[in-house]
Assembly symmetry: C2
Homo-oligomer: 493 residues x 2
Amino acid sequence: MAGHPLDPLFHPRSVALVGMPRDVEARGSGFFHALLDQGYPDHHPLYLVNPNATVIAERPCYSTLLDCPGPVDHVISLVPARTASALVEQCVAKGVRTLHLYTAGFAESGDAALAALERTLVARANAGGVRVIGPNCMGLYVPAEQLAFYEELPRESGPVFGISQSGGNAGDIIRGLAERGLRFSKLVSFGNGRDVAAAELFEYAAHDEESRLVVAYLEGVPDGRALFRALRACARSKPTIVLKGGVSQAGARAVRSHTASLAGATEVFDALCRQAGAIRVDTMDELQDLAVLLSTQARRIAGPRALLVGRGGGFSVLSTDEIARHGVDLPELPAEAQGVLREHIPIAGNSIRNPLDISSLTGEGGSAMRTVLRVAATTPGYDFMFATPDSAPARHSGASRHSAFGTPPPDDEAAREQERRALNELGELQAEHARPVVVVRRNRGDELVPDAELLRTALDAGLAVIPSVPRAARVVGTLLRWRAARAGLAAVF
Amino acid sequence: MAGHPLDPLFHPRSVALVGMPRDVEARGSGFFHALLDQGYPDHHPLYLVNPNATVIAERPCYSTLLDCPGPVDHVISLVPARTASALVEQCVAKGVRTLHLYTAGFAESGDAALAALERTLVARANAGGVRVIGPNCMGLYVPAEQLAFYEELPRESGPVFGISQSGGNAGDIIRGLAERGLRFSKLVSFGNGRDVAAAELFEYAAHDEESRLVVAYLEGVPDGRALFRALRACARSKPTIVLKGGVSQAGARAVRSHTASLAGATEVFDALCRQAGAIRVDTMDELQDLAVLLSTQARRIAGPRALLVGRGGGFSVLSTDEIARHGVDLPELPAEAQGVLREHIPIAGNSIRNPLDISSLTGEGGSAMRTVLRVAATTPGYDFMFATPDSAPARHSGASRHSAFGTPPPDDEAAREQERRALNELGELQAEHARPVVVVRRNRGDELVPDAELLRTALDAGLAVIPSVPRAARVVGTLLRWRAARAGLAAVF
């Protein structure tokens, strides 16, 4: 997207790390490693600046920003707050386009003089044509431009645009979604947000053709009107999820100490999101789960009537209660469909009314199991189904050595292979019958953590996988509330 | 405890597996493997019964129960429902004390004839002096007697008495608590509960000297008055936690299909628990977390005023909101204590008001960290503290390579070692200052699952470890509500 004032931010042609530690294992060296990990220096120049070194990690090091031999578009500042003013002057002199102040110790300290310094610095930079990210933040993750602030973040791009005041929460969002198969177009951690902040970023995201889903972690609402306009523009063009920190009194105090933000009244912020067509979620887990739903066929869930297919009677009972707690119904299976199932399923050890507890079914991909899944996918009167294939390696139990999706395999590797096949099978079922499927993992202590590759394959096949029943129930409830709140708006999911 | 009618149930001197499959890998063979795994046959005689085999797994196999060469105290029935009547007659003839009907396909099927058969069978057994567990259940886990129904359950005994209608949920309870370091005195899965059922088991637990904590998963309340009396006796002598299945309309239907139970009105059950002095929890996670709190010094938490010590500004903000959501307060640290901290902690990158976000503190066991922990443990006006040591292996990040409890270690093994040291340190802090500590793991995707040995060491040291902030906040809220509801009763925790 050319022409937007923030466009240069996302496309720097060179980066300088100012205040780069001489010891590459020292605090603050992380940006250097993160950029190397993304392959930055093979892409564009990366300059290291430290007045007390000429070489760091076998790379030339320059005394000051002004000594860098080429133009510098983007500066990452690791210098202490007390020397930041000098750096701002150098940025102006050097023609830097964006200054990312990782430097902290400004307004968030609660000290009035440091808050004034922050204002002065940023005003001077802006007056000199330099946009500022921060202070007190992690800055840019733009995989297409090899920009990152943690190591081991994905190098591939994807459709998610991220906005986060907190750098740590930005990391949790990126890594959490990466493990679920999602990738990012861009993410900005903007900390105290004295210049670049949420409203402008939502505005950018609204028109960014590389971004189809927006997730945000916000702490403050400095200008509610501007934020509302931008959030509305964004939420009307693509799904927009907002996690707000500081919704409690103690949380609001924490927010002041963290990013010097005023949290504002939660009710007002809630109304703002609702009217804008965005959704406010309560937790990091919910943000991630909702992003997964919206990136799969589960986004088409249009109503609350669900089927639950799984194994284990007591587990099905507790799952049913949990699902009901979040406003999702599990209407009883019609008599005719029960009749079909009764022909294929033994009476002992199974329930077929909904939940469908098929504890005693044996044989992977067996005909009885195929019948159950076909009935679940085609019986009229349901909006979607929850499916909970087993994913634990087998142990002998009196109840059964068999799973809803086959005999539990004997070890971790075999368990993964079986989960892979179960996900394939459910993906095909969903594609064939057009009834959304939400795969729910049991998330017991002895279950495998699914590998990211498996979850990515599922996501690419349009299949949502959620780690536990409470989370699945909650996020579907949230999706349905959001749908209701958006009545009258053009569909974006 | 001698003299209670259920005493023989927990101390059989021999077991017969009737209907033992010839193929030891076949469905139903699990009890055989579970008993072997506990070392049963080295303890007391284990008889296999199958009319079509003389040897199974190199052990003698008998045609009928009556052919077993010695007395049989406890029978586990794997026979189909249609032949169960004959087995009951044999049990009576053989002088069997308890019959565990794993056999399913009775009242829970919804079929009136099968429900009548269940009643008849059990009445006949009782008339002949045989107590019945079930039908449709997993039966007994009594590690001191080498009785179990799944493989790989702990062979050691402990203070937890378990009651569960569901066998699968019983497994989740045993394994879930075992991974947290807890062990069982006895557990009974009683399924349809036509004879042995919840009331009698609570009554037993109340007086069982081997049991100091009672956890129960119930589906039905066939006799509310008897259950209330027994639950009250139990809850007044030891902490008693009840998870109830079927609290929703759909859940109540699932309960009928699962154990033929009538779920009853949730409000009535809630009042019953409250008046009895027990606590009803909503989820399996909450049951397990509360059992951990009650088994550690965290049981002494007497009020809602907490400190939160951790790392990561945004994480602290979200944690604070989550904690507030569950009725726990995080009062601001008094100015004097803030002053002490300010002397030891740099202003940039840390918050010291509560939450104490000490992101930038370096050096494991360093003096600054010791100061923070001492201030948190001794500042008056707080009831307890949450502490969230890092447990993820290190990656370079711009923010920091340092943790609240030391520099994050480079790999999984080192991360475990560091977590071990952090837990030791917190255990000693708790012992020294008598302020309860709730250790909260961050539970991000990239965290290690803690090993059971580590959690057991923590538990033995009286230190509660909870997997995530939402769960920790919730379970402390539950503990405090329970305390309030028990006002006037003798303390049992």
